[in-house]
Symmetry: C2
Subunit: 462 residues, 2 copies
């Protein structure tokens, strides 16, 4: 069956590059989650938009399901192909296409890694400001499919704000050229915005026109030590009020210990329960005075126990490592991840209730939490005890996620802040979206991909 299918694909798209080795099937068949056994039909690596269209026309005719694939750094199983799907990898479509100085836009192919996008923008004296730790491996198309957030959302917003235009191939192989970088365009439904964050279930992003902006003024990085999580919002308010924050990230001492074990340099002599890494524009005397005023205000109130400010780019990078290396440092412990958000103003009460819930629910598990406090976004990582079976661990964790989802629902929060729903969170989608919303989403999916070919089983069951 698969054999004759691939013969027909070869006949339909003769020059298409295909991979079918077992090692490739495993490599391309999953993302950074490790819960599912990859089992794709084959890996298609189109070299042009026309080939992507031809593959989708063939898939429509043959009723073959397709998993669009970027850098596969996702944490929600959104790029998993475990049921004989064709993986359509954008990795060969990874080039910058054009830069427009007047529009200040950069047009790129979807498979371009985020870091390469950053570099291409910098070459033009501008920046693409969305950024996060997976920048070297993730692709801009995947960023768009999950509306990726990251460490600068507090200043620049999510991926959504930076997409001036999108080229998208539909389930039937049509090429849509959405918004074409127009600043103003009130001509019907904004399908570009609908595509952003749709996790490959409505179309395959093949090209994106990105808005760029001026580089930020020189910034400093500060690490703060906090005596309790109850003061987090006070510290945030004290800094936000006085400074243009580029980032405001926090993590616990448990997170820090994992990063130190992973090779980072110890920032303080003493141990503190909580830490904040914040970055802000500085440069003139007024800016420096504002930093000192914020810091002294926090010290005077007892909200901050210690602090260090970067004196060089190297030290800034070192301080950032303490936050950015957490995910990598935890990876060997096969963490079960939650990526939740609430309104910023709901954060204190949500944090308190969540801390209590986690303390009661996970007495025997190590829980590492960190996150983007200024965006209302908390990452909760539960580490698997050595020797525990993965299936048992996940089952136990999911019981807690069910409780967490109830807390979230009470606070109007989201079960997925920036990772997407994928396979991992679809059982909890109804904590964030109402039955009416889910029904409308299914209706839209049905309208745009009636045969359910694109990334089936992600977001909701087929």
């Amino acid at each position: 069956m698969s054999h004759s299918l691939l013969d027909s694909l070869h006949a339909a798209v003769p020059a298409l590059r295909l991979k079918t080795d077992p090692g490739d099937l495993e490599h391309y068949g999953r993302d950074w989650t490790r819960r599912w056994t990859p089992n794709p039909l084959a890996i298609a690596l189109p070299g042009s938009v026309e080939e992507v269209q031809a593959v989708m026309r063939w898939a429509s005719e043959q009723a073959v399901k397709v998993v669009p694939s970027g850098g596969r750094t996702g944490l929600s199983g959104g790029a998993v192909a475990a049921n004989g799907e064709l993986v359509l990898s954008l990795e060969r479509l990874n080039k910058p296409l054009s830069f427009d100085r007047v529009d200040r836009t950069l047009t790129v192919q979807a498979g371009m890694p985020l870091q390469a996008v950053h570099e291409a923008a910098r070459e033009q004296g501008l920046v693409y400001p969305v950024d996060f730790a997976a920048r070297g491996s993730c692709s801009i198309g995947g960023n768009i499919a999950t509306n990726a957030g990251g460490i600068h959302v507090i200043r620049y917003g999510n991926t959504r704000e930076w997409i001036a235009g999108l080229k998208v191939v539909t389930a039937s192989g049509e090429l849509l050229d959405l918004n074409r970088a127009l600043v103003k365009n009130s001509s019907g439904y904004d399908l570009r915005q609908l595509m952003i964050g749709s996790e490959g279930t409505l179309g395959i992003v093949v090209e994106a026109t990105l808005r760029l902006t001026d580089p930020p003024p020189p910034s400093n990085v500060m690490l703060l030590a906090l005596p309790s999580f109850e003061v987090l919002m006070e510290v945030f308010a004290a800094f936000r009020q006085r400074l243009q924050l580029e980032a405001f990230e926090f993590f616990t001492d448990i997170a820090l210990r994992h990063v130190l074990a992973h090779g980072a340099a110890k920032p303080f002599e003493e141990v503190h329960p909580y830490y904040v890494v914040t970055e802000f524009a500085i440069g003139d005397e007024a800016g420096e005075a504002a930093v000192m005023a914020a810091f002294e205000d926090c010290m005077a109130h007892g909200w901050v126990s210690d602090g260090v400010i970067s004196q060089s780019d190297a030290q800034a990078r070192q301080l950032w490592r303490l936050r950015e290396d957490i995910t990598e440092a935890l990876a060997p412990h096969v963490p079960y991840k939650n990526d939740v958000s609430v309104r910023i103003s709901q954060m204190p009460v949500f944090l308190a209730q969540t801390m209590q819930l986690l303390g009661e629910a996970y007495p025997h598990f190590e829980v590492v939490w960190f996150g983007h406090i200024g965006d209302g976004n908390l990452h909760i990582n539960v580490l698997k005890p050595a020797g525990m079976a993965q299936a048992d661990f996940v089952r136990d964790c999911e019981q807690v996620t069910r409780l967490l989802a109830q807390v979230l629902k009470r606070h109007g929060g989201s079960i997925s802040a920036e990772h997407g729903i994928g396979l991992v969170k679809k059982a909890y989608l109804d904590s964030t979206r109402s039955p009416a919303e889910i029904a409308l989403m299914r209706g839209i999916r049905q309208a745009m991909d009636p045969a359910g070919l694109l990334n089936p089983g992600k977001l909701f069951d087929p």
Copy 2:
């Protein structure tokens, strides 16, 4: 028939306020366009979200079509009720509901006028930065339905960027609570973004949570006189490069003459063919030097013939009037309006081709154009000669719109930058959106409003 329908509405929603006087039917049955004869069934003025839901449940049962209605300042016929529809006016739902200092959001009912939103934000020491001349009459719900742009898009973007959450009543009377002001929320399709700009065809916006921002630094307003339209982009580049522009608007001498006849004060002794009003942050010496440098650069190149900079708030308002009063000054001439956009970088060639087209096509009509040059947005107003029949005039103008649509299509532009498609532009939708896009839009509409009850005939034929 209507009588028994209204009886059943009264039975279904007993406390609902209804208007059926001929004067009311005419007043609420149209927007600022004057091409259609209003003919609504009745005007419903719900006093609560629950009443909006009850009306839609009744409309679903009785298969009655509904035209959602805000301030009716639209220029595309989007709020016209000419075929026995029930007009559902949000005008009684016009209150601010809550302000959140941590989230920096203001939650308001959809019928609140934009100017009242501005005032409510200012009371909190913040601003809602979307602004345009109809601020006193238009409603925030209508702004959302057309993704309104206006005079500050160059600095702050369109309405879309400022909507943190939306409450929407669907065709079947369900209440959707979309995004709930979350900064990060990657949990499926962003129906909030889909609703924005959908012109009341997918749901009725009943509440909005608006993002607010810090007030801009003190700004100055400058009026520039230009010798030709070919230098517009050069002047724009010279100013954008050196200053944080809050606005950059241009207009022709013909537009100015109408505004002067309407009562504005003459800015220059001499007559110039083109003018720019620009607003920018200023305050320190570096800022003032940057303004002078931009101005002198333009003078030295011959791109600018004269200029005046505001010395007081009163003078700033006076300069702004020259641009903002154009629409009102033209109204007695029953203008036929085009509201088109291209990428900013396409503006010079598009302007040249459009000027040529208009010169050839309208030798006997007076054409007044002005617009938001920094957003690639041009407003073209053709004035009806006295004594010409309205129907003949519109027919002649539509022939030119067909030619203009072809020019737009070649440049990847939009037939509606900020007014929406409504009734006025739906025949030209295919100049901006491809057949595949239009088919998908229709599919989405079908999925969300299967009976086609909401604002039927707007955007596309039912």
